[in-house]
């Protein structure tokens, strides 16, 4: 089969690979019909996430049709079922899964010992990601083996198209969880840093959860235009001071709730010297992340406010203003997404027509064009916001 394979920094190729095989009775094989390139795939593309290995298959946003099931799937899935595969692999049985904390499932990471060493305790196995989270082959491929398939799936009814359903596997529940974690009240101003796909989902989720005001921050005109279309007031940080404008919009109080949908690769600009220093340190491996956005959020967030971080951070960050964080009594909530905790509700909202996540798709191409689309997406060329690949 064809698959997009990681060969090293900025080197993804469309390779011919062997087909995946059922290994365990709870496995299923899915024929992928649609998959997407996610912002966090770019961190892998740049080799900023440790423990990727040449030969790893990329992709953690995918859906398709079940073509084979193991004997232990117990009728939960059958051939021909149309499913979205969540990026977090879940057993559904461990203590964390029973609590709904699916992204920290205690069972599914097959490199648990490595994760225990690095994170202190293991987290769930993830598709198409680092070997710290199991190194499971991803879904930017024609076929995908889904471990623990009896639990790791979201069934999609026929009335919902691939485009509407695909993002239930990651960015939609990620944006939703980011907003839910903010405990939004009807009087709240919610600011979202980064108008990439997760930022777009976050700001729409904040609106659906009843925020009084949603503010979106970025410097790419098309992303800001899309955010504005979704009901946000926009701030272009190339044109105005984020802090001054946010204070102006919130009567000098600062936003009540802040969402960092940017993560470890904050924009680098001489106007913000800390971003240059972070980049230099990142290059010399003295710091793994560039947390400019997080610093700005801690500074501008209203005292007593909540900071929600759906953006990916990988390791170590410097110069985090813990003094401001502590004295302002801010709450930070973060984590990989507990996808299955939210998907029943979100699928219902899609079916009811409350939201259609396909708005974010700007490019749909065959799988073979995937490698070059990584560059297009990374460089924000051709007004690219979200790429869907068709195997």
């Amino acid at each position: 089969m064809k698959a997009l394979v990681w060969h090293g920094k900025e080197d993804i190729r469309c390779d011919t690979v062997t087909d995946p095989e059922i290994e365990h009775e709870r496995d299923a094989i899915v024929k992928v019909t649609s998959c997407a390139i996610c912002g966090s795939d770019l961190h892998l593309f740049h080799n900023f996430i440790p423990a990727m290995m040449p030969g790893d298959i990329m992709g953690h946003e995918m859906m398709g049709e079940v073509v084979e099931v193991g004997s232990g799937v117990n009728g939960k899935l059958k051939k021909g079922d149309r499913i979205v595969v969540p990026f977090t692999i879940i057993c559904g049985e461990c203590d964390q899964c029973r609590r709904g904390n699916f992204s920290v499932c205690e069972t599914t990471n097959r490199n648990k010992k490595l994760a225990d060493k690095i994170f202190g305790h293991t987290t769930a196995g993830l598709f198409g990601y680092t070997h710290i989270t199991g190194g499971y082959p991803g879904g930017q491929a024609e076929y995908l083996r889904v471990p623990f398939a009896d639990k790791t799936h979201i069934k999609i009814p026929d009335g919902v198209s691939d485009e509407q359903a695909l993002f239930l596997g990651d960015i939609f529940p990620t944006g939703w969880q980011a907003a839910v974690q903010c405990d939004i009240e009807p009087t709240d101003a919610v600011a979202v840093w980064g108008c990439g796909p997760v930022g777009q989902m976050s700001l729409r989720s904040a609106l659906l959860l009843g925020a009084r005001q949603v503010i979106a921050i970025d410097n790419i005109p098309e992303r800001l235009a899309m955010a504005e279309a979704g009901g946000a007031i926009v701030i272009n940080f190339d044109e105005e001071s984020v802090i001054e404008r946010l204070n102006e919009l919130t009567d000098g109080k600062g936003p009540d709730k802040c969402i960092d949908a940017t993560g470890m690769e904050s924009h680098i600009t001489p106007a913000k010297p800390d971003t240059l220093l972070d980049r230099a340190k990142q290059m010399l491996m003295l710091e793994s992340d560039r947390p400019h956005v997080l610093r700005e959020i801690i500074y501008v967030c209203r005292p007593g406010g909540v900071i929600s971080i759906p953006g990916v951070y990988s390791g170590f960050s410097d110069k985090i203003p813990l003094g401001a964080l502590m004295n302002k009594g801010l709450t930070i909530r973060t984590g990989q997404t507990h996808v299955n905790r939210w998907t029943d509700d979100l699928l219902k909202r899609i079916e009811e027509g409350q939201i259609d996540p396909s708005f974010v798709i700007t490019h749909t191409v065959p799988l073979e064009q995937g490698p070059e689309m990584y560059q297009v997406f990374r460089d924000k060329q051709d007004s690219c916001i979200k790429v869907v690949l068709r195997p």
């Binding site: 995946p20 009807p186 279309a229 009901g231 409350q354 297009v376 051709d382």
Partner: protein, 181 residues
């Protein structure tokens, strides 16, 4: 390399049969080679500056050569990173400094003038490669810019934003009623 990494994969995981074309262009590979060259040369300048100063008749300038070594290493690391274009331009600037320092050694009293001329020739050649690679990378990225579109019609709310806000209001008042009861 992926043959080695297959050790960590399970039996049912897909393995590469035939590799597709690499995303790395010739310029990317040149930038990579220049980056490693810079790191190697920089390490010699930093840790064994006399190996540079002696043949060029520059005894006493070891400190300067060490500083150049640090600069060379940093530019090299930058050329290997995702910001390779900035790395290559910093190498071009560094080449300028190298050439200026070497030209200063072409003074009449230097008995190693021949070596200095040779070094100038080498630095000039490398400077040309650095410049060409930096230019090619710039051209490479500008060739993919594409057309600019705005997405002002993409609300994501099939029933419109006002309906979404109204739905949210209903939800929050329901939530408030539940809390009150």
């Amino acid at each position: 390399m992926y043959f080695l990494s297959n050790i960590v994969r399970s039996a049912g995981d897909p393995k590469i049969i035939r590799s597709g074309p690499s995303l790395r262009t010739r310029t990317d590979r040149l930038a990579h080679a220049l980056g490693w060259l810079g790191i190697g040369l920089g390490a010699i300048e930093l840790f064994a500056p006399q190996r540079i100063t002696r043949p060029l008749g520059m005894r006493g300038s070891e400190a300067l050569v060490r500083v150049f070594g640090v600069r060379e290493i940093f530019s090299g690391i930058m050329s290997l990173s995702v910001d390779k274009q900035a790395g290559l331009w910093s190498r071009v600037a560094g080449d300028g400094l190298d050439i200026a320092a070497l030209l200063a050694q072409l003074r009449i009293g230097n008995p190693r003038k021949g070596n200095v001329s040779l070094a100038l020739l080498m630095v000039g050649g490398i400077a040309l490669l650095d410049y060409m690679a930096a230019q090619d990378l710039a051209a490479q990225s500008s060739s993919r810019v594409g057309r600019r579109r705005l997405y002002a019609d993409r609300s994501g709310f099939p029933r419109g934003i006002e309906a979404a806000r109204a739905g949210a209001k209903q939800l929050t008042s329901k939530r408030a009623a539940l809390t009150a009861s």
